[in-house]
Subunit: 268 residues, 2 copies
């Protein structure tokens, strides 16, 4: 079993609760990597017998620090329409809600289509050097990052001159794994905090809320295989303890797979 | 009382439920304008005696058609940290959850700040022609839209040649109203569907989920007065019944007030 499947595995605990366990392989600064938490909440819905359709949108709120050990996940179908389902999911440890999510599923229909955004022209992943991941937080070592401008050189301290927040990076699991919606939810959180690039230094920060929209159905996800996805990330503003970031995930053949945004708490 | 305050007014119905009523002045194609629904969910939290801090993030899911008449709103404090609160709110008619929202509040702190995005250089609102709003859906008539490229000329049918999804537009209430977080939540949904601009024609569509991040605290909102805000909106993709849109709201003096994104269901 792939480490990501083990880290997001849930077993039925009661009629309305699933149970999972944190995984040291995906540890970040002070808790599990948020992308894995998003994938756990996603799997709770996708593996429900009531599921209908594929994910269109997910918003995950990181409400409390998740402690090492077991947690319960409670998915609730809030509303089912003809072709759309709205779910609300909580991840609970003891009496603390440590994360929650709203997830929209839909059975997609054939319509007029138009990709207004353009995939940037960049070298293929194989032509670029991977980011050395040794001595970094555990979760980083589970992935393959190939930055178009070369691996970032982080410094000990910010020199006061902000650099660009924008990066282009090929992303993949370090051990190849065919893409699915849980894997894409993980990838949507694989963009290092924009403040690291703007300040050129790395320190603990905390995503508060993450939203992702998926622009492909199951067949489009299957067509991605286990190849690298191109991520393009940027930020608008860093202000009074919170910065935003936005990102797109593109397939190697220039198809927009997902768009995502998050708001992150920092102290600097 | 301003029409927007009347349309979003809630009275206490029981210990954990508020009651409101839909307002014809803000009607859209087949129900209330989504921005007003977002503002109602926001007010339910902001007016709670347990409120601490200002809004940082809101995600609203439009889960069912809201019928004309009364509705209940049930806000729940999911998790309170030292400086952050996570709320979950449902809007209910009978036994149908017609909308829900997660809302993050925070007491902001003084930190290093950096506005990476640039406000576009555009003529002031007063120099531009307002969009004629007669004969449009009721809610449109409650606002003042001044498009930088002039009022859009919508056609009877799409000619097959996609135009740009990007617009710059000064936005305000038609009857001036000092900005507050409820008003900003409304403004985040004031960007007409991007498909109208790409196809050049107007038809019923339905926002499925909307997320907004606020980059100012209460004092920054008060400083906006009741002046127009510059909106910049765009879209990435229209595919299989869903398109996304992204937008920024800027103050007249070039400060980024909010960023927002939504996913919209269409049949075309």
């Amino acid at each position: 079993m792939h480490a990501l499947d083990a880290a997001t595995r849930l077993t039925r605990h009661s009629d309305d609760r699933l149970r999972g366990k944190t995984c040291p392989a995906y540890w970040n600064f002070g808790g599990p990597f948020g992308g894995v938490t998003a994938a756990i909440l996603m799997r709770a819905v996708l593996e429900s017998p009531s599921r209908q359709g594929d994910p269109v949108a997910i918003t995950v709120n990181f409400t409390a620090r998740i402690a090492e050990g077991e947690f319960d996940v409670a998915p609730r179908l809030v509303r089912a329409g003809r072709s759309t389902q709205h779910w609300y999911v909580e991840l609970v440890q003891g009496d603390v809600v440590a994360a929650n999510a709203s997830i929209v599923l839909a059975v997609r229909s054939d319509t007029w289509a138009h990709q207004a955004a353009r995939c940037p022209a960049v070298p293929p992943a194989q032509a670029l050097a991977p980011l050395p991941t040794m001595n970094r937080n555990a979760f980083v070592q589970q992935f393959d990052f190939r930055f178009v401008d070369g691996p970032p050189q982080f410094k000990a301290a910010f020199d006061g001159q902000p650099s660009t927040a924008r990066t282009e990076v090929w992303l993949n699991n370090a051990v190849p794994r065919p893409w699915d919606f849980a894997g894409l939810a993980v990838a949507c959180d694989l963009f290092f905090g924009r403040i690291y690039f703007v300040q050129g230094t790395v320190f603990p920060i905390a995503t508060v809320s993450l939203t992702a929209y998926f622009h492909v159905a199951s067949d489009g996800v299957a067509a991605l295989g286990d190849g690298s996805l191109l991520g393009v990330a940027d930020a608008h503003i860093f202000e009074a303890g919170f910065f935003d970031q936005t990102a797109q995930l593109w397939s190697a053949d220039g198809r927009l797979v997902a768009t995502t945004t998050q708001i992150v708490n920092y102290r600097a």
